[in-house]
């Protein structure tokens, strides 16, 4: 966990509105675990004031510029342009100064190697699943169920396949893969693999549906949540989510940045989850 004052290596649009950014980050990979995130400072001047949280898509090494030098370690983000900060990010180029605070939070628990693993990703929610998959495929059989509104929201599928992950795509409009919701695919897969563990990341309505499906079938589930964050360190208490057993009288708040962003489903208060999302009201309608 460190504040990397570093620079952009590359930043490319990979699908309309989606970008992939590589950032120089020596030593980052050794400390990062699947499901963790970073707080990204869009530019060294203000605005925007606050950093933006992004999942770690992957880490890796680039060949050095000159022979004899060590390879350059990078951190890769995959992001969707939605507002002010991500709009500025989309305009960054090689060499631009940025700051990355991380790796932060608690990642996924890899679980029992013997079990089947089903990863469920919605849109940009696939980000933390890639690093997870690259770990899990070493020992387990891994399936990825990817959902999106349209084909343009389906990203990096080939990269998952290259890891040996069996991939199922569904889109709301049928423009890629099956037409329909990813949760329908999940139901079918769970019929076939009732002993599987599920790992999910995506929009809240999807996460809630996945939770219901897993709870009904008593399938172990880990979810990665989003929340508005100021510090990313457990200091501001801006990012809390209601924990299991939460009530007005005995409130149980958990920090998404520190106790999450990955939670076991049992840790959370699902009944009250939908009430307070706020930051993505837009995407719920």
């Amino acid at each position: 966990m460190k504040n990397y004052k570093t620079m952009v290596l590359s930043n490319q649009e990979i699908s309309p509105g989606y970008y992939r950014m590589r950032i120089l980050a020596p030593g980052f990979g050794a400390s990062a675990r699947p499901g963790q995130f970073v707080m990204f400072r869009v530019q060294t001047s203000l605005p925007p004031l606050l950093r933006r949280p992004f999942g770690i898509f992957r880490t890796g090494f680039l060949p050095p510029d000159c022979e004899g030098q060590p390879p350059k370690e990078y951190l890769e983000l995959l992001y969707k342009v939605v507002g002010r900060g991500t709009n500025i990010m989309a305009g960054l180029h090689h060499g631009d100064r940025v700051e990355v605070l991380g790796p932060l939070g608690r990642g996924f628990d890899p679980g029992n190697p013997a079990e089947e693993k089903i990863l469920v990703g919605g849109g940009i929610g696939l980000v933390p699943l890639y690093m997870l998959a690259s770990h899990l495929t070493k020992t387990s059989s891994v399936r990825l169920l990817m959902g999106g509104r349209t084909r343009e929201d389906i990203l990096a599928v080939t990269e998952f396949e290259r890891l040996g992950v069996e991939t199922y795509v569904s889109t709301d409009d049928g423009s890629l893969g099956e037409e329909g919701l990813v949760t329908e695919v999940l139901k079918r897969k769970l019929e076939k693999f009732p002993g599987a563990s599920v790992y999910a990341c995506g929009p809240m309505p999807m996460i809630e549906a996945v939770q219901r499906i897993c709870a009904e079938r008593k399938v172990p589930l880990q979810v990665s949540l989003e929340a508005l964050m100021a510090c990313g360190l457990g200091a501001c208490l801006g990012c809390v989510v209601k924990g299991a057993g939460h009530s007005e009288e005995i409130p149980r708040y958990l920090c998404t940045c520190k106790e999450g962003p990955v939670f076991r489903a049992e840790q959370l208060d699902w009944a009250r989850m939908g009430e307070e999302t706020g930051y993505c009201e837009g995407c719920k309608s």
Binding site: K2, L46, C231, L233, G234, A235, C239, P251, G278, E281
Partner: protein
């Protein structure tokens, strides 16, 4: 003779940055603002806690407090709104679980606290009174008094005086009163808390604000309104610090929108003996030592040997 040499060579190493706030000796005038630095531990990976003037904790209450529903924060232009609702572990859990870490640091620890009734303020003060690791307390009087129909203690000179007097009685440690800016005349409150025994005054807390999502037509905060902090409020904070420093004899701690060394210096010139850095910790967790360095640099450039010369040096 050899000790003389050491002294001399020390004095040429740079300007003296140490300040004294109500008996709390600080290496330098820079400390975090309550609620933006957790209980200290959260920021330890990013800065040496020995290098800041003091550590100020998240506000504590008698019992653990849940805080507000989410969303609790919203970014605004050059600022942020927060309605955390003073979520905290409570004073006892603080003493038991959070203080041991702070015991390892020599930097003075200032505990910020609040109450929803007069009695609660008094009770927290009692519990902190004989904890040696607590160098001083900071009284957040920006809370509504539940017993008096929700009127905010810090907006009424009488209520403010009452709280400060009571805490003063229950606690022999340096006592800093932290004022809310949401008042017509902050000097009236400042005078009231000084007269009731505050050893120092910290200003300002956040300004009440609101932001609306025009798509959903809902407030961005579940609590509707929240406290505005960050660079946007700095001119208001500087004005109030100056006004208060002109009014009272006790030292003033300036807070509100500091993100650069020059911002901190502005507060010192306006009359603050020390400053607190709040929202900027979120932007850059290593910012406080950088601000200390920047102040030192300024002193060197301006030929200031002792930071206290700078305090209140506004030319008018």
């Amino acid at each position: 003779m050899s000790s003389e040499t050491t002294k001399a060579s020390q004095s040429v190493t740079g300007p003296r940055l140490a300040v004294n706030i109500a008996g709390i000796e600080m290496k330098n005038p820079v400390m975090p603002a309550s609620g933006t630095f957790g209980y200290g531990e959260e920021y330890a990976p990013f800065l040496d806690l020995e290098n800041i003037g003091a550590i100020v904790t998240k506000g504590l209450s008698l019992k653990p407090k849940a805080g507000n529903p989410t969303p609790r924060i919203a970014e605004t232009i050059s600022g942020m709104l927060n309605a955390i609702g003073l979520q905290n572990v409570g004073v006892d859990a603080f003493i038991k679980y959070k203080l041991p870490f702070l015991r390892e640091v020599t930097t003075p620890v200032i505990v910020n606290f609040f109450g929803n009734t007069l009695e609660e303020y008094g009770e927290v003060a009692k519990r902190l009174s004989d904890i040696p690791e607590v160098a001083g307390v900071e009284l957040n009087i920006s809370c509504p008094n539940v017993k008096k129909g929700g009127i905010v203690f810090g907006t009424d000179p009488k209520a403010a005086a009452e709280v400060v007097s009571l805490v003063r009685k229950n606690l022999a440690k340096p006592l800093i009163a932290k004022l809310t800016p949401n008042v017509t005349d902050i000097t009236v409150i400042a005078r009231a808390v000084e007269e009731s025994g505050a050893d120092a005054i910290c200003c300002i807390n956040t300004l009440t604000g609101m932001s609306i999502d025009i798509k959903t037509r809902r407030p961005r905060l579940a609590n509707r309104t929240g406290g505005l902090s960050g660079p946007a409020i700095r001119p208001i904070a500087v004005r109030m610090v100056h006004q208060v420093a002109q009014t009272v004899k006790v030292p003033v701690i300036g807070v509100g929108g500091i993100v650069r060394p020059s911002d901190a210096i502005e507060f010192l010139i306006a009359g603050a003996t020390a400053v607190q850095v709040g929202t900027a910790n979120f932007v850059d967790p290593g910012i406080m030592p950088a601000i200390v360095e920047g102040i030192e640099q300024y002193c060197i450039e301006e030929g200031i040997d002792d930071i206290n010369e700078l305090v209140g040096s506004l030319q008018v």
